[in-house]
């Protein structure tokens, strides 16, 4: 990159305005839902989320069609003084996933979080619908913000929405889980913030594109990288900082669990990807990437083993999230090869596909588990017998989601793992492949444990299973089907995630 050749984004890019819309719409919805309150928050939320869905589609379409990243300088102030929003392929994919999963969670949540009577405001519905809108703002800001401090604000927004979602039911153990989660998350944010301070001290900017040109291996950058990585790892619940996740994700209401496992942990993971691939490409990242992947491998094995040993379904799914997060980190050493190489491209695509596939599959599984727990009155795995016959749709959704986690074709998980396996073999790092295969076997184990139990005949002494409303089951099934069909993306041009890289900085005005 020749100095001075960086073309800074200009305001008024018509497609770039979509990025503003993706952030403004849910924010406006949040403010409106909070002010009108009453029983109207739900309708406001559904309306604004539907709008957000359309915006996400438009963003994906714009990036796909043009083949280059979108950008928008807020207020017409260009970086480094101003803040730019940017959307490359990675962000577009994540934004689409967000719109999809948040939409599904909203539809699923309608049965649990309806206002008690028309126009009557109650605690849980108002909190749920406002927080759902706020979580969308936070996530979209994480996908699109091009400035490290705006990303800090986004991370905090995400924490402030995720924590109350955990303890909506107000029981002591979920409150405790929420508090523990909050302390982890706050610590993570402060460490991240310290890193941004150090980067600013060295280069006088927080803009990702400008930093990527200026960053050189020197003490300030290494310290910043270590601090930010540690903070984000704590927020992503990567082993060994995963302790907060299972109680928090298992204790939340099903709709919230789906949101937390599918999307919220991906926010900080995405920032790690941004950090190492976009902010610090100038750093020799071999050793840190190996370290992250080693922690990921440990998470895959530990999480899977712990999942197998759980007696409660929701805890099993939560530990499975710990394991699946581990897979995401295997991508780092595979994708940090020579920039732009086909192996790296495959690994990056595989890693992001894993994130998307896990998001849809895990949301489906948490929703299905919620339906089952609601119908059974408990979520003990030992007492699941007969569920498959009583709730075939939910059980099918759970099984499909599980199959996507295992990586059966044609699921998104299959394609993701296949790409990662190929990358590890091609780059001669076969040990990561071994971890992936072992983890897959464990995943088989815990998914079949649940499915097998549910297929069994119900004991006559057990209480009758209550029928469950159809909407929630249908939503879970739809998400599971999507995660199963994601692998067909192989038939479409796969390079959407690669739009805008590796030459992220060259964003021309049209």
């Amino acid at each position: 990159m020749t100095p001075g050749a960086a073309v800074l984004p200009c305001a008024g890019d018509p497609a770039g305005a979509l990025l503003v819309l993706a952030i403004v719409l849910p924010t406006a919805g949040f403010l409106l839902a909070l002010s009108v309150g009453g029983g109207r928050a739900e309708r406001v939320a559904l309306l604004f989320l539907a709008g957000g869905f359309a915006v996400a589609i438009a963003i994906v379409a714009a990036i796909w069609r043009s083949g280059h990243a979108l950008s928008y300088a807020l207020g017409g102030w260009t970086p480094p003084l101003g803040i730019a929003l940017r959307a490359d392929g990675l962000s577009a994919v994540m934004a689409m996933t967000t719109a999809l999963v948040v939409g599904a969670v909203a539809l699923f949540g309608r049965q649990n979080f309806a206002a008690p009577a028309p126009g009557v405001e109650a605690r849980v519905p108002l909190s749920f619908w406002t927080l759902l809108l706020a979580v969308t703002t936070a996530l979209n800001l994480i996908w699109f913000a091009g400035d490290l401090f705006s990303l800090y604000v986004a991370l905090e927004l995400l924490t402030f929405t995720a924590v109350p979602l955990v303890c909506l039911d107000g029981r002591a153990d979920t409150l405790e889980a929420a508090l523990r989660y909050m302390l982890f998350a706050l610590m993570g944010s402060v460490l991240y913030l310290l890193g941004t301070a150090l980067l600013y001290s060295a280069y006088g900017t927080l803009d990702i594109a400008l930093l990527s040109e200026r960053v050189r291996p020197e003490p300030a950058v290494w310290t910043a990288a270590a601090l930010m990585t540690a903070g984000l790892v704590a927020k992503t619940a990567l082993f060994p900082l995963h302790l907060w996740l299972p109680p928090a994700h298992a204790g939340a209401p099903p709709a919230a669990s789906a949101l937390l496992s599918a999307l919220v942990v991906k926010g900080s993971f995405f920032l790690l990807v941004r950090l190492w691939f976009d902010v610090l490409p100038g750093l020799p990242s071999r050793a840190p990437a190996e370290l992250l992947a080693a922690l990921g491998a440990a998470a895959v094995l530990m999480g899977s083993v712990l999942a197998l040993r759980q007696a409660r379904l929701k805890l099993l799914i939560a530990y499975s999230t710990v394991a699946q997060i581990g897979y995401l980190f295997l991508m780092f050493p595979l994708a940090s090869g020579p920039a732009g190489g086909p192996v790296a491209a495959g690994a990056l695509t595989g890693g992001m596909l894993q994130a998307v596939s896990h998001a849809t599959a895990k949301a489906a599984m948490f929703m299905a588990a919620g339906v089952m727990a609601g119908a059974l009155g408990h979520d003990r795995i030992a007492g699941l017998a007969g569920t498959a016959r009583a709730l075939p749709m939910s059980m099918f959704a759970f099984g499909l989601g599980g199959a996507a986690l295992i990586g059966l074709p044609p699921s998104g998980g299959f394609l993701a793992k296949w790409l990662l396996l190929t990358a590890s073999v091609q780059s001669g790092q076969w040990w990561w492949a071994a971890v992936m295969l072992t983890g897959g076997l464990f995943t088989c184990g815990y998914v079949f444990m649940v499915v097998g139990r549910a297929m069994g005949e119900k004991d006559a002494s057990e209480p009758r299973i209550i029928a469950a409303p159809i909407t929630g089951q249908a939503v879970a099934l739809a998400l599971a089907v999507i995660s199963m069909l994601l692998g067909l993306a192989a038939l479409a041009p796969l390079d959407l995630v690669l739009v805008g890289r590796p030459t992220l900085a060259v964003v021309a005005c049209r």
Binding site: G37, W77, P80, L81, I83, A122, R123, S127, L157, G204
Partner: protein, 315 residues
């Protein structure tokens, strides 16, 4: 120079002493006292670092509101506080953490000593564009023009925290008022303070918002003072916290951020970009946003201190 350095050294030593006290004190109350002292001292540091805007914020929030919040929690949890020595983490664990933290401090200290000279800065650029915003205070220009998105979202963060706090209410109290902040024993001199201080505080708060465009000050600082004065009148028993379901409460809370957002969206058409201000109107719009945000932020801060609803709705 030497006297200045002596002043700085004294300040640094005092701050470190307060920090160590805050971490090492055996029980919570003295630790929180140490923390409030720490916040007050940091205000002086911010002045020494030529950041009067931050000093105002720190004086208002760091020592003031945060201290009050922590102190309220301390007194309510005091009965449950176990004797100081019970179930400490093991010594090896503490040593390991101490080692890690020392390493962290050393790394940051090393980076501080190795900082580039001259330091990279955006000051010239911020100054060069200042005329486009019409305001005279560069920090205000950063907060409301160059990086307006952060400020907009920050006001959303405050509201979100309030929703989070409210969501912790028992179901049957939803829509009701937070618990009373008044001292149990009515006190004549406190009532007097509660009557005299708030008007002065509100005048000062408004003044600080008003001059914020051109001199040190701004909405968060002013709003914090106003919010604190509101809490003071509630503590003096002159006012009670409002019911959170009332329409006017919601409107006041949301108004600032909503107005900011509306101006931002209007920028699409009037100035060619989201959050841009039309030429010639920048300063008046910035002041208008600040005024709108002041009321909302003051109300939000006051209600954050008051806590979740704890009384049933009066019918």
């Amino acid at each position: 120079m030497t006297f200045a350095l002596a002043f700085d050294c004294g300040l640094a030593v005092l701050i470190l002493a307060m920090a160590i006290w805050t971490i090492a004190a055996r029980t919570t109350f003295p630790a929180v006292v140490g923390f409030v002292a720490y916040g007050l001292l940091l205000t002086l540091v911010w002045m020494r670092l030529a950041a009067p805007d931050v000093a105002l914020t720190e004086a208002a929030i760091g020592g003031g509101l945060t201290g009050v919040l922590l102190l309220g929690a301390t007194s309510r949890l005091r009965a449950t506080e176990p004797p100081a020595v019970s179930e400490r983490p093991s010594v090896p664990f503490r040593l390991a953490v101490a080692g890690l933290c020392t390493l962290l401090s050393a790394a940051i200290a090393a980076v501080v000593l190795l900082l580039p000279d001259p330091a990279p800065t955006l000051a010239p650029e911020a100054a060069a564009k200042l005329s486009l915003t019409g305001v005279g205070n560069a920090v205000t220009a950063v907060l409301l023009a160059y990086r307006a998105l952060d400020t907009l979202l920050e006001s959303a963060v405050l509201l979100l925290a309030l929703v989070g706090v409210w969501s912790l209410a028992p179901d049957r109290f939803w829509g009701g008022a937070p618990r009373s902040l008044a001292l149990r024993h009515r006190d004549g001199s406190l009532s007097l303070l509660g009557q005299v201080l708030p008007p002065i505080g509100i005048v000062l708060g408004v003044y600080i918002v008003w001059v914020g465009a051109d001199a040190p000050g701004g909405k968060f600082q002013g709003a914090t003072i106003i919010g604190a004065m509101w809490v003071l009148t509630m503590m003096a028993g002159l006012q009670t916290p409002p019911e959170i379901s009332q329409a006017w409460v919601r409107v006041i809370l949301v108004a600032g951020a909503a107005f900011f957002l509306a101006v931002g969206i209007a920028g699409f058409w009037l100035a060619g970009a989201f959050l841009a201000y039309p030429t010639g109107f920048a300063k008046s719009l910035i002041v208008a946003i600040e005024v709108a945000l002041t009321l909302s932020v003051a109300a939000t801060l006051g209600l954050l201190v008051a806590g979740p609803p704890a009384r049933p709705v009066r019918t």
